[in-house]
């Protein structure tokens, strides 16, 4: 187990280097420092000197990968790739293009994101499993077929409609809770409850449908037939035999997402005015602040890889057949 985790962590290094290389190519080769300078300076006829000046000021005057002028080790470190990308490994994100400290921003904005994403995530899974179990109890009947139709309809509605609809009905029409905003005190729940409910409802269609499929797939396994031949009741079979087995695929689909909860949700946070990482990213995209986008890509990849490792570990815990090596 320990050896396995160590190996996975070692494997993570080339993947993260790959991520950095990819973003680097995207940001600096497709969009060269000269282009960046031009679009940042904003005028159509900027002088070459102004561009050079901007590049020096912002640290883009170095070569991309290999600096022939600097000797030895510095030939690789005194380059844009190294200064802009590789230092991310030390979680040193530098400053955004508008001059803010990204590391400080991230560590501050992470918590509102978690405050929204975690309750949505946990309630969502719980609700989806309950709904799916209820439907599975009636499998093969008309009720089951109608439920599937409802699930498919629910998942055919864009997320945006759920958010806009929820805001309109709950906050504007019925005036139950504030439309948007956030207050990191005891009152936070007032601001969070609507986005959480919207998030859960929006996820029911796809989630419950998927879990229903998993349950039904398990229900056709041989061991379920054995359980019936033992004289167990359908309820007991569902909860003691089908559920524990179906939890294995549910778990693997879900655990990988846990670390990425820190990244928050782009849509939810921006619609409901929650100052988390999701809205941070959205603002960065809209103001074309590539330094922030690059940092968030890196953080997202790290969290995803942690999620993969957690998934494997949770597998061994849920399924006695799995041993890591």
């Amino acid at each position: 187990m320990f050896a396995y985790i160590v190996r996975r962590l070692i494997y993570a290094v080339p993947i993260l280097i790959g991520v950095n290389l990819l973003t680097f190519i995207l940001f600096f080769i497709v969009n060269s420092p000269d282009d960046m300078a031009r679009s940042q300076l904003g005028e159509k006829y900027v002088t070459a000197a102004a561009i050079e000046n901007w590049k020096i000021e912002n640290g883009y005057d170095k070569p991309l990968f290999h600096n022939a002028e600097a000797g030895g080790f510095y030939a690789y470190t005194d380059t844009i790739f190294y200064t802009k990308s590789m230092r991310l490994f030390a979680f040193d994100f530098g400053r955004s293009e508008s001059g803010r400290d990204i590391t400080a921003d991230v560590s501050q904005r992470m918590w509102p994101s978690v405050a929204l994403a975690l309750p949505t995530f946990v309630t969502g899974i719980w609700v989806n499993i309950c709904v799916a179990l209820m439907v599975v109890m009636f499998r093969g009947t008309k009720l089951d077929r109608w439920a599937v139709l409802v699930f498919v309809s629910l998942m055919s509605i864009s997320y945006l409609f759920y958010i806009i609809g929820g805001q309109y009905m709950v906050a504007k029409l019925w005036r139950l809770v504030p439309i948007s905003g956030f207050n990191p005190t005891a009152d936070a729940w007032k601001f969070l409850i609507l986005p959480v409910v919207v998030g859960v409802v929006a996820g029911i269609g796809a989630g419950a449908r998927w879990y229903r499929t998993l349950f039904i797939e398990e229900a056709s396994q041989d061991y379920v037939r054995t359980a019936r031949a033992k004289g167990l009741s359908e309820i007991r079979i569902l909860f003691r035999h089908i559920l524990p087995n179906a939890l294995i695929p549910i778990l693997t689909g879900v655990v990988v997402l846990i670390p990425t909860l820190f990244m928050g949700s782009l849509l939810m946070e921006s619609f409901f005015g929650i100052p988390g990482l999701g809205s941070y990213m959205l603002d960065a995209i809209r103001s074309q602040d590539f330094a922030i986008v690059r940092s968030m890509v890196f953080i997202g990849s790290v969290l995803y890889i942690i999620g993969l490792i957690l998934t494997d570990i949770s597998y061994t815990w849920a399924d006695p057949r799995v041993r890591l090596n």
Partner: protein, 544 residues
């Protein structure tokens, strides 16, 4: 055949009828197509009643219908099942649950998938006990230990906390049996309980069932396709064919004087161990010397190779022209790996494979091509051995095209037609797709495919084990005819010792990657030297 079975036959009439099935009919829910047609039989206490038939005969459906566990796609359309004086079909579902596991218990073919993979085996049995008896907690646990002892599981108090995958196949089936017997039912329905097991284990499990039936005065309904199993433990037998019981008899009477031609055919599938193939060739076509095939085991942080699984561990044999060598062993013995290594589908770790004197074990893809024309293969599964998206014609032509037989399209199609008629199929079949054929027909097409390039050696990897017994004989006969006609040699890989005398000149017995004994089929089978060969031989059913 034991005396106990004989004596039970004598007083069978005096025994109580436990289960009476009458006029049971089952049909497909949608189309109403009949699956079972008025099946009826009685099961008495202490007897083993074998319901025997080939795949699709409806024997498993009968057992599920009795348990009222039919899948939704099927429904009972008539008839009744009487347990004592109650009709099972008249019970509510709640009442039926009281019968299942308590009075009628069932065991299934594949014990591994039939046990809940994430629940400890002890807990799975305790669950049954708690459902039907007042036992709980420590008492239930104690009872499980007793049951495990009774079914012969070693170290029962430890096995209790194992998960199913940690047990061997035979042990899993013993757990299933313990689970079925936990609440002391009076009827046991066993659906192919030994089919998934290796032959030596099969015998042990059958002995256990027979013993328990006697000790507990249990009525056993045994569903099987294997006449050997019937011969071994059944008292009475019912032959199922296309959803009907066509013959029913006491077991001795049945084997000596079957009424139906179909029954006779089933009995004929039992091995004839008196006639052997003779004559061996001196001129070796294939020579295998000290062949080793090892698979690396990787472990640790850096995934270094920490050891090897020795699938084939230094074996030597040779096959002469026009000769058949049977390579016999149980699953995991390395016999199929040997075949794959000869075909160069698996790299040999060490040793030599010589074909007509040329070493072929380390040839590159292109260098191997001329030999591929001469060494061909027939696989086990009639379902996965042909690409479902190609017509039979294309399947047969593929080898001719890729091995560069210089033929025009017209010549190829003529050849396809002649190949099909050679394996006794219609030439028109070439335009059809594999799924339109039965298992036996597909296996013949697979033979035709191998013959398409005129090979001198054909490696037959369990070509008949997925076939029903009545078809098995036809396919074997075809292989023998082809050998007589074209002088082709076979390496016949099988787990079934019983077909060897009829088929092979020589025999090599494989265990754990090594050949433990080889020689002429007659000498090995009549005078086995190695204990493992003896054990294999004992598990082969015979008619006395």
């Amino acid at each position: 055949m034991s005396e106990s079975a004989m004596s039970s036959v004598v007083d069978a009439e005096a025994r109580v009828t436990k289960l009476a099935v009458s006029d049971l009919s089952v049909a497909l829910t949608g189309s109403g197509a009949p699956i079972l047609k008025e099946v009826g039989f009685h099961l008495r206490a202490g007897e083993v009643y074998a319901l025997v038939g080939e795949s699709g005969s409806g024997k498993s459906i009968t057992s599920l219908a009795i348990m009222r566990l039919l899948p939704d796609a099927l429904q009972v359309t008539g008839g009744d099942v009487q347990y004592g004086d109650r009709s099972l079909f008249a019970l509510t579902e709640q009442e039926m649950q009281e019968y299942r596991g308590r009075r009628i218990a069932m065991i299934f073919q594949d014990a591994l998938t039939s046990l809940n993979p994430v629940q400890r085996v002890g807990a799975q049995i305790e669950e049954t006990l708690m459902r039907h008896t007042s036992l709980s907690g420590a008492e239930a646990r104690k009872r499980v230990v007793q049951l495990f002892e009774e079914v012969g599981l070693p170290e029962p108090d430890k096995r209790l906390d194992f998960f199913p995958h940690q047990l061997s196949g035979g042990q899993q089936q013993r757990v299933m049996i313990a689970m079925a017997l936990a609440c002391e039912p009076e009827v046991l329905v066993a659906d192919e309980p030994t089919t998934a097991l290796d032959v030596t284990i099969q015998l042990q499990v059958l002995d256990l069932i027979r013993e328990l039936a006697k000790k507990r005065d249990l009525g056993v309904l045994l569903i099987t396709h294997d006449m050997g199993v019937v011969r071994n433990i059944a008292h009475r037998v019912g032959v199922m064919y296309q959803g009907e019981i066509i013959e029913e008899a006491e077991v001795d009477q049945f084997f000596h004087n079957p009424q139906e031609a179909y029954s006779q055919k089933l009995i004929d599938s039992l091995p004839d161990m008196t006639h052997y193939m003779h004559g061996t060739a001196d001129d070796p076509l294939l020579e295998v010397k000290d062949l080793e095939v090892h698979f690396p085991i990787r472990r640790g942080v850096l995934q270094r190779i920490k050891g090897y699984t020795k699938a084939v561990d230094g074996i030597s044999f040779s096959i002469g022209r026009g000769e058949t060598l049977a390579l016999v062993g149980e699953s995991g013995s390395g016999k199929s790996t040997t075949g794959r290594a000869i075909l160069n589908l698996e790299p040999a770790t060490a040793g030599e494979i010589r074909f007509k004197g040329d070493a072929i074990q380390a040839l590159k893809r292109r260098e191997m091509l001329p030999y591929r024309k001469q060494i061909q293969v027939i696989f086990q599964s009639p379902f996965s051995s042909m690409n479902p998206r190609m017509t039979i014609g294309h399947i047969l032509e593929e080898g001719m095209v890729s091995l560069g037989l210089q033929l025009t399209a017209a010549e190829r199609s003529e050849r396809v037609a002649s190949l099909l008629s050679r394996v006794r199929l219609e030439p028109e079949f070439r335009h059809r797709y594999p799924h339109e054929f039965s298992g036996g027909q597909r296996q013949r097409i697979a033979i035709a495919r191998a013959l398409a390039v005129d090979p001198e050696l054909i490696i037959c990897d369990e070509p008949t084990s997925a076939l029903d017994v009545s078809i098995r004989a036809e396919v074997l006969e075809l292989l023998l005819d082809l050998q007589r006609e074209f002088g082709v040699s076979y390496l016949f890989i099988t787990h079934d010792l019983s077909i060897v005398p009829h088929l092979a000149h020589r025999l090599a017995v494989m265990q754990d990657g090594r050949i433990v004994e080889q020689g002429s089929a007659e000498s090995v089978l009549t005078d086995p030297q190695h204990p493992y060969t003896r054990a294999l031989l004992e598990s082969v059913p015979r008619i006395d």
